[in-house]
Amino acid sequence: MKQVTVPVLAALAKVLSGATVRWIGCEPDACQRIYFANHTSHLDALVLWASLPKNIRNLTRPVAAVDYWQSGPVRRYMATVFNVLLIDRKKIKVHNSPIDMMLREIGDVNSLIVFPEGSRNLSGKMGEFKSGLFHLAKKRPDLELMPVYIDNLNRVMPKGEFLPVPLLSCISIGAPIWLESGESKAEFLQRARKSVLKMKDS
């Protein structure tokens, strides 16, 4: 069943979002990566996931909030189809850190899609990054951190809407960054945020 629904849903997501994927200064690769992107629409995770090449898509899991993806049967079903890694953002504790959970889940095979802004921004301006990305980079320095800029998807499906308007959107994936030695948390998060913004204009 999943062999049929996954490609169909991926194709549907691509057609509805008219997404063009640009790899700038990098190539699709099955090595372990963290794709971090700006967050403007419900569709972000699905479209970014769907626009990866098939063999990479099968290895990549979007990270998303459990309270959104477990409400209602359709979303619950979608979460299983897209193999979403669900995080409970209300119950974050020291001994149950989502970072450890993510690292445990991906092992040494899978890649992740994360949205470091946390929640979708409504203003159209990109918000500040939360520290999760920094902790991921610190605990697993071998992971390639790929900046991704998602353009126009907020117009396809803005917050609070359920019917898509299939405009053309664009996904730009840039060259990987890593945590530099001696770089502070604030510096790294600023640099990561800038690397995403740089993709917007390139």
């Binding site: 809407e161 308007v165 299939p166 053309l168 959107s169």
Partner: protein
């Protein structure tokens, strides 16, 4: 099948030869031709070839397939147009209904050959629905501007283009000079569509050539730096001659030879107006081509701007001068074909 099949095959062949010539020139490193012009030329010929091949296949399959093809092109062009023009959150539901409601509806109406409805559903119903729906959404900022953008996009990309597909519905009469009376014109209306598309493309090509070879007086440098008065007039006159030649060699339209020349002249002027208007919009939005708006997409709107402007004028002039109704007494209408094509034209919108 008729004369137009021969015409279309000839057109495809000549475009194929042009493309081959362009590709050969590109490979020659010592050629003295500006590579930018060559690239532009190759791009144009490739897109014309695509349009022609799609049209041949669609016309040979079924009338409904052709209408559905135009419907799909309209949908894609409108998508590009809206992507380029900034809209606000409050326009979301309006855009949904425009893309998934009025666009398919227009082509279903063309498919079932409902002339009364298809000519008014967008100018009357849609153009009143759009401002009302935006007002109900509660966002009043730049209200008139946003309304106008959506109305214009719908008018050009969907309403105007659908008139090209509607050429297939026409019931025309032909003046028979030997008996001095109007006679029912029984040729396939696919020929009329072929005549129209061929003339628009010839006009585009001649305009391009005249601009390059004899262009001196640029019409509006701020809007389009390459379009000249010499190009506009030269293309119009030459296209008119081509129209006459097509009609004499392949009588695919009910017009006389001078009538075909007059129609070709009008089509050429409208086609040039179309590209100028779309250039103005592109300059205002700061994009050079709709294709580069989002990288990797072929700009459909770049290719059809001239067709969009010429289609409704050609449709209505043809209908005005040679409509069978009032000229010929008994005209048979094929009802079953209309019903099937209505179903067919829905297909691209379900996907």
């Amino acid at each position: 099948m008729g004369y137009w099949t021969v015409g279309l095959v000839l057109l495809v062949c000549s475009l194929g030869i042009l493309l081959a010539a362009g590709q050969t020139l590109k490979r020659k490193p010592e050629s003295h031709i500006d590579p930018a012009i060559l690239r532009n030329f190759n791009k144009r010929v490739t897109s014309w070839l695509t349009i022609c091949v799609l049209l041949v296949v669609a016309l040979m399959l079924h009338r409904g397939v052709t209408i559905a093809l135009f419907g799909f092109v309209s949908f894609w062009a409108l998508r590009e147009f809206i992507t380029m023009t900034p809209t606000r959150r409050g326009d979301h539901r309006t855009l949904f209904w425009v893309l998934f409601g009025f666009t398919p509806l227009q082509y279903v109406l063309v498919g079932i050959d409902n002339y009364d409805l298809f000519t008014i559903v967008i100018p009357v119903y849609a153009s009143l629905f759009i401002p009302a729906r935006i007002a109900f959404a509660g966002d009043h900022k730049r209200f008139l501007e946003r309304t106008a953008k959506i109305q214009f996009g719908l008018l050009i990309c969907v309403y105007s283009l659908s008139h090209a597909a509607a050429l297939l519905n026409l019931n025309l009469a032909k003046w028979d000079s030997s008996i001095g009376a109007w006679e029912s014109w029984t040729e396939d209306t696919g020929g009329l569509l072929f005549f129209f598309i061929a003339i628009v493309q010839v006009s585009d090509m001649l305009h391009f050539l005249w601009d390059r070879l004899f262009g001196r007086h640029v019409i509006a440098p701020a809007v389009n730096a390459t379009k000249t008065w010499e190009g506009l007039l030269g293309a119009a006159c030459c296209t008119s001659l081509v129209g006459m030649v097509i009609q004499v060699l392949l009588p695919v339209t009910p017009f006389t030879w001078w009538g075909a020349g007059f129609m070709a002249l009008i089509i050429s002027v409208m086609a040039s107006s179309g590209s100028m208007t779309m250039s103005a919009i592109k300059r205002d939005r700061g994009v050079k081509e709709y294709g580069t708006l989002v990288l990797g997409h072929a700009g459909v709107l770049d290719r059809i701007d001239s067709i969009c402007f010429a289609a409704p004028i050609f449709f209505h002039l043809t209908r005005y001068f040679t409509n069978a109704e009032g000229r010929v007494v008994d005209v048979a209408i094929d009802q079953s074909a209309a019903v099937i094509s209505m179903g067919m034209s829905c297909i691209p919108f379900m996907a």
